[in-house]
Amino acid sequence: MGSYFEVLLFLLTGVIFVFVGLGVASLFRPALPSTPKQSIYECGMRPFGDTLGKFRVRYYVFALVFVVFDVEAVFLYPWAVVFREIGLVGFVEMLIFLGVLVIGLVYAWKKRVLQWS
């Protein structure tokens, strides 16, 4: 049985370590800013156009499908842990649950949603 105090401690250490590192290094690193140095890297060319283009909606569709399956995954954790206790009944329950989602997956597949182009 573990406690969450260590999690907090590791979280704080991660944050502090990065900032302390940067602080210590600032003592002996040069600081000579110039415009070319502070411009965006574009393989040596002068940056042109807008960074903020329009990305394809397909990215968002994948994110949506992911949300659905992520929520499904959350249900699997308690199921897997008590599986030996609930036995066959639990197996059938999860089979129905996943079956419904697999229908959706097959539908998405057939509708070519999982295709990039």
């Binding site: 807008d50 329009k54 397909r58 949506l64 992520d70 499904e72 308690p78 842990v81």
Partner: protein, 223 residues
């Protein structure tokens, strides 16, 4: 018991107030910051704070799923939504103009500006009313539910995951199975959205397809 002991015993309460402040401030900032990406990242902070409160309550499984679903999925979905939106429209004027949206108000006439202000005030009022109504419903539901004062995991000593699993797959079986139908509905929604994108293909030039060799190759792979 010495004063130091009392201080230590007060720490969880203090932690709750610190987390509560983080949640409230970041939730407030979501509505206040001008850059929409910053709003999304403040939302991540608020979600994480909620997970922290769950940990303090001893509901570790809930904390884990909170982070997994809200930080790992919902927030990412929002960020993707922002990035596939027309970003120039979203962050261009906001970055340029000063606070209060004075940039967009300047070229219009005084009467129009006043009308816009009145309309904005009406929206704020409406939003406030919805918020109050929502809070009222939630609080009423919580009050009616008659939740126990002591958290369940503390009482039984078993991991919360086991307790939740046992309840979910026996007592709350029907809601669990209904959840899969709800998820299916969300999936179908995504499919419809994708179908619409396929129909609209060709209207908007996508940045990704024009980004060099990789993009060109992607275009050629229409298997």
């Amino acid at each position: 018991m010495s004063i130091l002991d009392r201080l230590v015993l007060f720490l969880p309460t203090l932690g709750f107030f610190v987390l509560g402040t983080v949640i409230l401030v970041s939730a407030w900032m979501v509505g206040q910051v001008r850059r929409i990406t910053h709003a999304a990242f403040f939302m991540v902070l608020a979600f994480t704070g909620v997970a922290g409160v769950f940990v303090l309550l001893g509901a570790d499984f809930l904390a884990g799923s909170q982070v997994l679903v809200y930080v790992g999925a919902i927030a990412v979905m929002f960020l993707f939504a922002i990035m596939v939106s027309d970003l120039k429209e979203l962050s261009g004027p906001a970055a340029g103009s000063g606070p209060g949206g004075s940039g967009s108000r300047a070229p219009e006439g005084d009467g129009e500006a006043a009308a816009a202000r009145t309309a904005a005030r009406a929206w704020v009022l409406l939003a406030g009313l919805v918020a109050v109504a929502f809070a009222g419903i939630v609080l009423a539901a919580v009050a009616k539910a008659g939740l126990p004062e002591v958290s369940v995991p503390a009482a039984s000593g078993e991991p919360t995951t086991v307790l939740i699993g046992r309840e979910l797959f026996t007592k709350f079986l029907v809601p669990f199975e209904v959840a899969s139908v709800v998820l299916l509905a969300a999936l179908v929604g995504a499919i419809v959205l994708a179908a619409r994108e396929d129909k609209d293909r060709g209207l908007g030039e996508e940045a990704d397809s024009g980004a060099g060799a990789a993009g060109r190759r992607n275009g050629g792979v229409t298997a």
